[in-house]
Subunit: 296 residues, 2 copies
Amino acid sequence: MNDAGQTTATSGPRNVLELVRTARVDLRKSDRKVADVLLSDPHRILNATVAETAEIAEVSQPTVIRFCTAIGCDGFQDFKIRLAQSLALGTPATQSAISDEDAPDQVAAKIFDYTMTSLDWARHKLDIGQMNAAVELILNARSLEIFGFGASAIVAQDFQQKFPLLGIPAHATLDSHQQVMAASMMKPGDVAVTISNTGATMSIVELARLAREQGAKVISITGASQTALANYSDILINVETLDNTDLFTPTTSRIAALVAVDILSTLVARRLGSDHNLQLVRMKRYLAQMRKNEVF
Amino acid sequence: MNDAGQTTATSGPRNVLELVRTARVDLRKSDRKVADVLLSDPHRILNATVAETAEIAEVSQPTVIRFCTAIGCDGFQDFKIRLAQSLALGTPATQSAISDEDAPDQVAAKIFDYTMTSLDWARHKLDIGQMNAAVELILNARSLEIFGFGASAIVAQDFQQKFPLLGIPAHATLDSHQQVMAASMMKPGDVAVTISNTGATMSIVELARLAREQGAKVISITGASQTALANYSDILINVETLDNTDLFTPTTSRIAALVAVDILSTLVARRLGSDHNLQLVRMKRYLAQMRKNEVF
DNA sequence: CCCTATTTGGTAGTAAAACTACGAAATAGG
DNA sequence: CCTATTTCGTAGTTTTACTACCAAATAGGG
């Protein structure tokens, strides 16, 4: 029973540290020593040789090599490269919960790490098929009506700022009464974009239902796949993040959603061809001018 | 004239690929061959030995080693680890300019890559000292008035959503006339937060000047250090990103700024102690309840 | 409980990798 | 055109990762 429970030996999971953490219990006694040393101070191993690692873990050199193969790596060299990549994204989120003892610079580092890891997660969860379908809908839409509350309202406004630049009328209604009015007045050919991280916010679900009743298509941007909102959506863009419920944890969901908007708008822009782009260039130049001249 | 213009040999800049790109012109002719091979297919080098790299680049093995030291690495091994970390963040933005031929999933991947690389960049440019100073100002502030246009308006609203939760009154004025009014009515003890990626937006600079004239302190969040806005700011939080002026490039500045707001609010929250946190927990619970019950 | 079978982990050796010293060619300066 | 300096490859050295082998430890069966 060698090679404790790894996945495909070659590609393997993305994060070696996470892998070692989970596989730890299944490891040989000596291998576990190596694992513990690695988990306690990964950066130390990153700059160490086999001999040094063996000494730190108080095992022999071949044991270190065996450890590498046991977790699915192709030797020590390969292991180090994988480790380097894992560490580049920052220490995994599970480890980097912000504690009261952390100095401000550590807090900053952890939040950056966390955000980046979370984006990496969202990247691999994103369904590009739904994204493409959304592009088609938007290209054929007469106008976009965007709905979101709280943090999602910010995403909605970002939406509103981007799509008019592409010649696609987009409006984000924020007032809840006006939202109901806007949704009720939608027509076939219109597209509603409902944004909710939980996908459970009742008023948003209600707006999706209303819009659909009027014959409008509904694109939903959520952070989970099985939601109430999904029932009333034609297209579901799932931007899954690592947001946990900890008090101090930042809300990466809004950031991932913004990236999704970036992708969506870029894809739409590409489909519009170069005529529109020329217009865009002119607009950007004009804005740059404004920066220098505008006086109140 | 060995060791072409690198920084501190040991730590060095974060992204090796970015570094090589910029240092390319200053390199020796043979080193440049290595650089070109590296830039054209970094992943290939990642899994190659010195001998293999030498063969691909059609140079001798010592040249490869010399190349590594020339760009500030401590030998080939160190270089490979740095490269691995750079590649973990995705291929650098300059390389991953989105082309018309890219398939949608490639576009998505590139935008994610670009955003993450950009955040990594911002992380290392962030001055935690200014951040700490901002925390002190905010803790002693009677109220916060936040100003931003365009993409920065979104950041301003995020600010507005976060700080009242900490018991700190914060208001983001969006209408430009009301902005002037709000800035003119500020008093000593108030804090103005001005957000502008360029730091050159005239109306924002003007608002900072106005607020300061009234005795208020000014915290500026910008994307560059030497700006007009800096002249009227007490604290300058520089959230530098890689935003280039390409047409399709997403604006990562707003995302980096949002992360900065996350950090700022987290730091402030920590300073407020556990009493406030209890209140926060109650608030979050209430919001969760709302999600399930609210009906319009 | 003992003896056998299997796993585990260390010692010693090997192959190959990275790195260094030196010298020849190429380039730049006077 | 000759000298000085830089550039870059050849050949050798040292270090490093990896392998083969064997001993200790553990587990299983009678």
